[in-house]
Amino acid sequence: MFFHKKLTHTITLHPSFLGPRMREFVTKRLYKDVEGTCTGRYGYIIAVVAILEIQIGKIIPGLGSAEFEVKYSAILFKPFRNEVLDAVVDSVSKIGFLANAGPLRIFVSQTLIPADMKLDMNSNPPSFHSDDQKIEKGTLVRVKVNGARVDATNIIAIGTIKEDYLGVIE
């Protein structure tokens, strides 16, 4: 799910930046620091929408650098367990298929694909197919998230299509 949320971030500026264009430096640094990052708590920070407030900086004793607390609002993307979302199939392998929903990668294991969809590694590209449906690279699928694992720069989700109303989108 995409969210719009207010967040804060602290930016440290070297004394050489403490001049007339200081606000601009703080803003630029914020965009660079937070956009495209991913944390377990907030998910992906896709883009900063607005900068709400840059508080008065505090000089760090002994260093000369200044710290600014910036309040901003951003578009976040975070998957939740049992959330249903649409994704694009990226690759099909023997053990299941991988799909992308924006920056998020979702793996759907073969055991969570309906039994009537058979794996065909000899087709080009490899696919899962039943009599009337086919999952191959580029297919749009509706997936339910079973769980997610967060590492330093990514979230990887496990999904299922073995339920009513899930699977290939027509």
Binding site: F3, K5, G36, N82, V84, G102
Partner: protein
């Protein structure tokens, strides 16, 4: 022994979150949810300035591609009307956004995909809501 005890008393908070029961955690419980089409409008507005600064990262470009593919409503007026349809209902922001994004064709499908809706809304009302959203989508400019 002590190690295993520690593990027991410290369950990972992440694992208790569940969209089906609408438990999104303290950070997201009251957050504003966006429709895919709204994200598309916001991201496309930034596209030119990002291109100029060459500050387009992978997350941004992948998301833009995704929202362009799955955006259901093509113009701002339609998005506004969909929001106006969803607003008077008793549904939580998360459920509203899910309904707007998934575009279900009947109430059974909507309830199966967004189980937290449960009995918050009458089946007939949900059905007419979905029908109205569908016709908005069909007749948008």
């Amino acid at each position: 022994m002590r190690m295993s005890k520690n593990k027991l008393v410290r369950p990972q908070a992440e694992e208790t979150l569940d969209a089906a029961r609408l438990e999104l955690g303290a950070d997201f419980q009251d957050a504003e949810c966006l429709l895919i089409s709204e994200v598309k409008v916001l991201l496309e507005a930034q596209y030119d300035s990002k291109k100029e600064d060459k500050s387009m990262d992978e997350v941004y470009s992948k998301t833009l591609e995704y929202v362009q593919k799955f955006s259901r409503y093509t113009n701002r007026d339609t998005i506004k009307e969909v929001r106006a349809l969803l607003k008077p209902t008793e549904l939580e922001p998360f459920e509203c956004a899910q309904l707007g994004n998934l575009c279900c064709s009947e109430y059974e499908e909507a309830k199966s995909l967004v189980p937290s809706i449960g009995n918050k809304i009458r089946d007939d009302d949900l059905d007419s809501l979905l029908k109205q959203m569908d016709s908005l989508k069909k007749y948008q400019g």
